[in-house]
Symmetry: C2
Subunit: 400 residues, 2 copies
């Protein structure tokens, strides 16, 4: 019965096996003898379930998937063999018995808190543990066709939410009211509920609605536009700001299906936009068109950024590109997958050659202090000779 209630596909065994083999290759080249996976997203990636457990991957031999609870649910969801345990102590005993604890161990030290790390070192009486988060990120960077299918289904939710937005937006509505409608629509269309962002203090919503002034306010996050929120305790997302004629309204929506996140933005306006906004919007569209036409496997991410920047400079819009003042960010794109801040980052700061199967959001946006913002965000799958769009939703302004 449990299976009949789940609307998304379980991860096939070949997927799990391949992912673990990939990680082992990275472990071998970094001389890591065993990895201990504790974070729930990595656990889901490598086991197919997010139940309470610990995955130990020795460089040699089979992975050991220890599950505390729910055993029933984990057994349905993972193709791996399950070792039921009551506590960490049981895990320790089995690891000692199987002579796993030798050489150099690896843990996800980018997310595992110090107290958890110290507890494991004490429990295992094993000190030589290094960070493997970079290795895991490398494995997760290139998506399989199974993953791309999930990402496309995640994109389908975005497309439906943008369709709904066209019906919902009206002059005088508050950003939060529009967000409430769209949040609801996404859920009805199969959205998983929330999205994940890796790291300390990384928080996000499913729907960002920003309009005029509220789109220009800088937040704590490393994002070009995040909104004001309804409270300084959250300080991001839609606010009580009301829709005015002629002012662009941005909807930045994150799809979520079977764990996979998509992230697109469209600009909506009641009436007509002024020339400043119009011109900036044309450049944003030119940048997306250029990436769609000319981007491809083998291109460097820095080149994709620099092509965009050339268009921006030609239009003399550099001061407003990707934020202004303290709010300016240094990237135009970010990787997507089970978390919204995956690799690759499309920035002039880091060289990365695009490979088939990488998936990223690409978001040329212009922010005009005090006035408002315009922009587009689309998601791309890197293919040989091209970048494939995740959704078919047009990138024009939606006039209401």
């Amino acid at each position: 019965m449990l299976k009949t209630l789940l609307i998304s596909d379980l991860t096939p065994k070949e997927e799990i096996d391949r992912r673990i083999e990939e990680l082992k290759k990275h472990m071998a080249s970094h001389h890591v003898s065993f990895s201990i996976i504790l974070q729930n997203v990595d656990l889901f990636y490598f086991t197919g379930t997010i139940q309470k457990g610990v995955l130990v991957i020795p460089l040699e031999g089979e992975p050991l998937f220890f599950v505390e609870k729910s055993l029933n649910r984990a057994a349905i969801e993972t193709p791996l063999e399950i070792i039921p345990v009551k506590s960490d102590r049981d895990i320790k005993n089995i690891l000692i018995e199987k002579h796993i604890l030798k050489g150099k161990g690896g843990m996800e030290l980018d997310v595992v808190p110090v107290l958890v790390y110290e507890r494991w070192k004490t429990l295992l009486t094993f000190e030589n543990i290094v960070d493997i988060s970079k290795l895991i990120k490398e494995v997760r960077l290139v998506k399989s066709e199974f993953e791309i299918q999930q990402i496309k289904k995640s994109g389908d939710i975005i497309a439906k939410v943008f369709d709904k937005a066209k019906e919902v937006i009206q002059e005088g509505m508050r950003e939060v009211d529009i967000a409430a409608f769209l949040e609801s629509e996404g859920r009805i269309q199969g959205h998983q509920g929330f999205l994940r962002m890796r790291g300390l203090n990384q928080e996000m919503m499913n729907v960002y609605i920003t309009h005029g002034y509220s789109a220009t306010i800088t937040s704590a996050g490393d994002v070009p536009i995040s909104g004001v929120g309804v409270t300084h305790a959250i300080a991001q997302g839609p606010s009580v700001n009301r829709v005015q004629r002629g002012i662009p309204l941005l909807i930045d929506y994150g799809g979520g299906y079977n764990g996979y996140i998509t992230d697109e933005t469209r600009t909506f306006v009641v009436g007509e936009m002024n020339d400043t906004f119009k011109k900036a919007y044309e450049i944003a569209r030119d940048i997306v068109d250029d990436a769609t036409t000319n981007g491809c496997e083998g291109m460097n991410g820095t080149e994709l950024y620099n092509r965009a920047l050339r268009l921006v400079k030609k239009a003399r819009l550099e001061d407003f590109f990707m934020g202004h003042g303290e709010g300016k960010v240094s990237f135009i794109g970010h990787g997507l997958g089970l978390e919204i801040n995956e690799l690759p980052v499309i920035t002039p700061r880091h060289s990365i050659i695009l490979k088939e199967g990488m998936v990223f959001a690409f978001e040329p946006k212009f922010i005009f202090p005090g006035e408002g913002a315009v922009g587009i965000e689309v998601d791309y799958i890197v293919r040989p000779g091209r970048l494939e769009r995740v959704t078919d939703t047009p990138i024009d302004v939606f006039y209401i």
Copy 2:
């Protein structure tokens, strides 16, 4: 203009000063010379803003609040003086200049990841750092009247959402569709957007709708009922399960206002419940009535748990109380505040004397394997001589 968009109150200066003084008292008794606060919720608690920054509290002298961005927003929100910085290196230089780095330092090692901790130790060339998360939790445990006001406004959102639920629920609807309506209603009524849970892998939604079978499925979380979700990648929350006549439907909703979380559950049913559910529901109500009448400041949390357990045993419902089998949890209540897993925990496992200003959710629930669940969750503020309910919403079954 930013202020006019925020619907919640800024934290008064006296609040911030008192909180910092309280932490200093705890630091003194644990011989901690300075604390470095990095986690956003603790930052919000001690500064009044959640902008990107670091708060250093020396045992002697004024707190140093370093802000990277947004400087504008932080300046509006915090009563503390701001020290603008471009990077961690600036912070290091100021800490050295002011001779802060001496004795024993403190960090939130329950949440700070290993790599972040290592980076700070290297940056400061300072090794002697201990965990202060327990001290911070102690300070945050007792709520001020200002905080209780915020909690009551958070509870007002719950009350409105339960009112809406009575209108919305119909036979044949999916749990996710009901959740979509209520998520939306909460947002319209001022909900902040999401809720926070402290620690690695701690995730939650605003709305849990569970009905019959879906209420009986165990999850990874340390909660009695969490639902099935729509995907094994999230594995909690409402599912596509449809409302059937006579089967209890539980709505567990988390209010969120100005950062403060409330958390209540009500049971709804279309038609009539069978005698098993009815009897269990009566016991749940007796437990809440008993706590409301007899709970008070000075009582031990273990006593509150044991009073409930006596009623459960008398009704021979022990096997179903707070879960069944691997899903059974060991508590009947948990603290509320800026995070949903605060102190006090109401459990036979830990002795804690209730003090005025403590706030906790109290949730007698019964889970019948394969059949369904019933229960109630109310929030209490500890007062002299009584427990004060946060909301006025009746605790009877809502018959549709």
